[in-house]
Point group: C2
Amino acid sequence: MSHFRIWFVVISKSKHTDMATYAVFGTGTVGQALAGRLSSLGNRVMVGTRNVADTLARKENDMYGNPPFAIWQQGHPDVQLGTYREAAALGEIIINCTTGQASVDALTSVGEADLEGKILIDIANPLDFSQGFPPSLVVCNTDSLGEQIQKAFPLLRVVKTLNTMNAWLMVNPALVPGNHTVFLSGNDSGAKETVKTILNSFGWEDRNILDLGDITTARGTEMLLPLWVRLFSALQTPMFNFHINIAGR
Amino acid sequence: MSHFRIWFVVISKSKHTDMATYAVFGTGTVGQALAGRLSSLGNRVMVGTRNVADTLARKENDMYGNPPFAIWQQGHPDVQLGTYREAAALGEIIINCTTGQASVDALTSVGEADLEGKILIDIANPLDFSQGFPPSLVVCNTDSLGEQIQKAFPLLRVVKTLNTMNAWLMVNPALVPGNHTVFLSGNDSGAKETVKTILNSFGWEDRNILDLGDITTARGTEMLLPLWVRLFSALQTPMFNFHINIAGR
């Protein structure tokens, strides 16, 4: 009986760990969470930043008390650091974990040849903290950051996802009990299927992955952020998520 | 044993049915759902409208196939119909179920003496369907309809709630299985406590009522609507709700 069990384990491992190379744009908490998780799953990862020397020189924790990239990298020696351009040249899939206001500039610094046909997983939110708390959105209502990126870079296959929750929860849904939801928005069905497989590898079950439709539906998930920040205040923890309960399902 | 049981039923009925008089502004589905439920619970209800004759003359179903007020009222003979002013003069509590763009005008047509100190339960959303689907919001991001109403009518104690779900679910949460969430926003703690009791009478358990804070948090719940309408499309049913899953609770 035991060799059947081993065979089953090998099959299920293979389903969830198709190795790939990833460019993770952004050296903050979201970038660290994504890069660390992808690397631990056996993928090759290069984190992209505007200026490598500046990133490595940073010594202060961020506003939430998370460590600077150089400290974090000591525990993740397999994760490389390069410019946005270097990371995009390496990565088959690009993950945008920059702040929303820096996203288009980051992608503009990459040559078109290194973007063409690639999936961009867009996790950024267009939050503006310049007027303090609560933040407002730089773009919303009749447009979204996801749409702006897709429009500016038509060569990319943009999939907006994971932007509605805490960074550690993105890559480890079991941190919140029970079923809860991750949304998908994008124009390319094949790209969304690939992203679902990546989400599966993080622990997201298919029944909790909800495809909203084309990239214009990113308006809805980005506009969830004003509620998210108020829930963070009211609940005094970032470790929560939205679940969609549906009658009869 | 049986008279103890009866005694228990009487106590629990009394807890949930402190009778009051309600002015329900708006003759559409949301107004019908709220007025019908409050009336069936034994409350006195007058629905308020801009023009009573116009409302009674309407013969067509709305865009969702719901009946016009005159047809609906045949099944709810205890629910009265009057002008906004007449309804507000009667109601101890006012419930705003108008379309968001009509809300301030409706309240302006009421004399200050009939608003002073009253709770206004604001269920309206500032949706603009003039450009087709998806609707946009007339106000969002750095302001909200809830705040605009509170600012225009400082005599009212505005509590924003129930605006994030289908009308029938508002008054019957059991239509969606399991735990799911209704949000509260408002500056007046006492008013929010009263509204919680009303929500309890509809079937909402305390653990599913989530107080977000002051009326500025209405930005978050109103900005949930762009996601709600896309979920309605993706799920092909309006009978769903958001639940907040929280680690360790």
